[in-house]
């Protein structure tokens, strides 16, 4: 009977997957992801693709907010930059979809870094308000720079095609999106084993101590904004190619709130948490809709109140999680694992 997980060699301590159980779970997850598209119908594939995009965005935001401690309410704006850059480069300049996606990531990283400059002077609450302003300014520019973005009208993006295959059908996009999720996950997990990631965590835990120990706050905070916005831009660009259409309504402050909810409910400062939170928040409205359909025979009026129930549940879930489990789903997951590992001697 063990009382905890202890590592006896450096190799083991540095490994990403440390226990046999973790390796088994990873293999099971990958196997599930590989089999899933052959079993699921279009509806579930669409949901899976939405989850994939949300995971990329949530990992991006978690790097900034969860790991570096810089609260951002500008997520929606940065996603808009990614989506519009990708859309415009493909629709107007005829770039291939992968080219415009990569370019969109770098453009978003640049804009994100620019709006990260106030973080050098402000923190906490004031930074949150500054990023809120960034969100409003970006959306205003998007809706008013008609020559570039088409203003409030939707921007139509041509189908992404590679080797004669249209990749934004639900089935094909699944492979693209989840491969990217895999790359992003490996990159993000490894980021926090490098000096850069360690510096981010040091800034979050105690910025003054970090700076005394030689962490250049100026450099690393902007770097955190750049890396985070890069991934957020990627999520935005993928949305543009997947949906064929970019409208500003998809990137309002509500989206910023949605992504913040994902990483808080999932678990701040945890990649697994980003996965769990993104999945939970993306599936929540779908589950409620299905529940509403199932209950329709008993309560015929449920259709008209469903949007309100969805919104109210969203708010309630945030409040309840913050009050009862502030460390999020990741903590619940850990508790479940611990319970079974130590069972039946849980004390």
């Amino acid at each position: 009977m063990d009382s905890g997980i202890f590592h006896t060699t450096y190799e083991k301590d540095m490994a990403l997957r440390r226990t046999p159980a973790q390796k088994v779970r990873l293999v099971l997850l990958i196997a599930f992801l590989l089999v899933f598209p052959f079993l699921a119908n279009r509806y579930y594939l669409t949901l899976a693709n939405q989850v994939a995009i949300a995971v990329i965005g949530a990992v991006g935001l978690n790097i900034l907010t969860g790991y570096t401690g810089q609260i951002s309410l500008g997520q929606g704006g940065f996603m808009a930059v990614g989506a519009y850059s990708a859309g415009i480069l493909t629709a107007r300049l005829g770039m291939p979809w992968w080219g415009s996606t990569i370019a969109a990531c770098f453009i978003t990283a640049l804009i994100g870094t620019f709006f990260g400059i106030p973080s050098l002077r402000l923190k906490g609450l004031y930074l949150a308000i500054a990023t809120l302003a960034a969100q409003e300014i970006i959306i205003w520019v998007v809706t008013h720079w008609r020559a570039l973005t088409g203003g409030v009208d939707a921007l139509v993006v041509p189908d992404p095609v590679s080797f004669g295959i249209r990749i934004n059908s639900d089935f094909n996009f699944y492979w693209v999106a989840w491969s990217i999720v895999g790359i992003v996950t490996i990159a993000a997990v490894n980021l926090f084993r490098t000096p850069y990631g360690r510096a981010f965590i040091a800034i979050r835990d105690q910025d003054i101590a970090a700076s005394v120990m030689g962490v250049d706050l100026f450099k690393y905070k902007l770097l955190a904004f750049a890396i985070s916005s890069f991934l957020v831009g990627l999520a935005g660009a993928l949305t543009a190619h997947y949906r064929n259409i970019v409208t500003w309504e998809r990137f309002t402050i509500d989206i910023s709130v949605l992504y913040l909810a994902m990483i808080i409910i999932g678990g701040l400062g945890s990649i697994t948490g980003s996965y769990l939170g993104a999945t939970f928040i993306t599936l929540l409205p779908a589950v409620l809709t299905n529940l509403g359909r199932a209950l329709k025979s008993t309560f015929p009026a449920i259709d008209s109140v469903l949007p309100f129930i969805q919104q109210a549940t969203f708010g309630l879930v945030i409040i309840l999680f913050l009050i009862f489990e502030p460390e999020g789903l990741n903590k619940i997951w850990k508790n479940i694992k611990d319970y079974f590992r130590l069972w039946p001697f849980s004390y």
Binding site: P118, R121, I137, I309, I319, L322, I323
Partner: protein, 290 residues
């Protein structure tokens, strides 16, 4: 010149309403260091409850307003007790997020009860246009200015003279010291939230009188941020002056430049103020800088 006077009047009246929403916001921040993202929803609820009292129940406006204030106070106390008190001592992001969750919940409640369609509001303040110096402005808009000034007066007296007001200032200054002097910090927080909800309700009733009720009234929640940052997050006069300045700024840019610039300029001002003078015009200079 006529345009100038017209814009000034519009700006002043819009500013007065913004100031009313900002007052409650500042009050909560002053007492408990909480940024309330649900302030717009408080305004929304104030407007809808007034609408229910006057239009749906057909009460006289004095009684209706009093009942609305009662509902607002109850809401403030309930929110403080159920949602904010468990958050004491939690990191800033949790506190911000819990008020965002609250705003989503309240908005959904309002839509579930009253629907999403804008509704006409039975005016309890006459809204006939009045001519001043060649400009026309609705009478209810002028009342907004009067009420804002009146509220500022009440708040000043409250904070200087009343027991609760002084206790609130003590709590804002140092919670531990206040506790050791026998002040109930919990009670003060409940006071702050209920007064904030009540001022927002008055603001909401006024806006409803001017433009009618609809879910978009919650938008005031975001428009408050430039106001409070400009005036200083913890300054009551700052909220009023910030409201007027932002209101005028919006009116002038809207009238002279147009292009929807009036929607974004407040946020540009916000970022500039944050970079140059984060504590605002009248705020206390105790801000954590990096």
């Amino acid at each position: 010149m006529d345009l100038f006077i017209q814009l000034t009047l519009t700006g002043l009246t819009n500013g007065a309403i913004l100031a009313m929403a900002a007052l409650g916001f500042v009050l909560i921040f002053k007492a408990s260091d909480v940024i309330n993202f649900a302030q717009g929803e408080f305004l929304l609820i104030g407007a809808y409850v007034t609408f229910a009292m006057l239009a749906q129940l057909g009460l006289h406006w004095t009684l209706g307003l009093l009942l609305t204030l009662g509902v607002a106070v109850a809401l403030g106390v309930a929110v403080e007790r159920l949602v904010l008190r468990p958050m004491i001592g939690e990191p800033i992001i949790s506190v911000i997020m819990v008020t965002i969750g609250l705003s989503s919940l309240l908005k959904a409640l309002v839509s579930a009860i009253w629907g999403n369609q804008p509704k006409a509001f039975p005016p309890f303040i006459p809204s006939q246009p009045v001519k001043i110096l060649g400009a026309t402005v609705g009478e209810d808009r002028l009342w907004a200015i009067v009420i804002a000034i009146f509220m500022l007066g009440i708040f000043s007296v409250f904070f200087r003279r009343s027991r609760e007001g002084i206790a609130m200032r003590a709590v804002a200054d140092d919670q531990q010291a206040a506790l050791s002097m026998g002040i109930s910090v919990k009670k003060i927080f409940a006071w702050a939230w209920s007064i904030a909800a009540a001022t927002a309700a008055i603001g909401g009733a006024l806006v409803a009188n001017i433009v009618g009720v609809g879910p978009e009234l919650a938008g005031f929640g975001l428009r408050v941020f430039p106001v409070v940052i400009l005036g200083g997050l913890d300054s009551i006069p700052g909220a009023i002056i910030g409201g007027v300045v932002i209101g005028l700024l919006e009116a002038y840019t809207g009238g002279y430049i147009g292009q929807g610039l009036n929607q974004v300029l407040p946020f540009i001002v916000l970022i500039l103020i944050l970079m140059i003078r984060p504590y605002g015009l009248f705020g206390q200079e105790i801000i954590e800088r990096v």
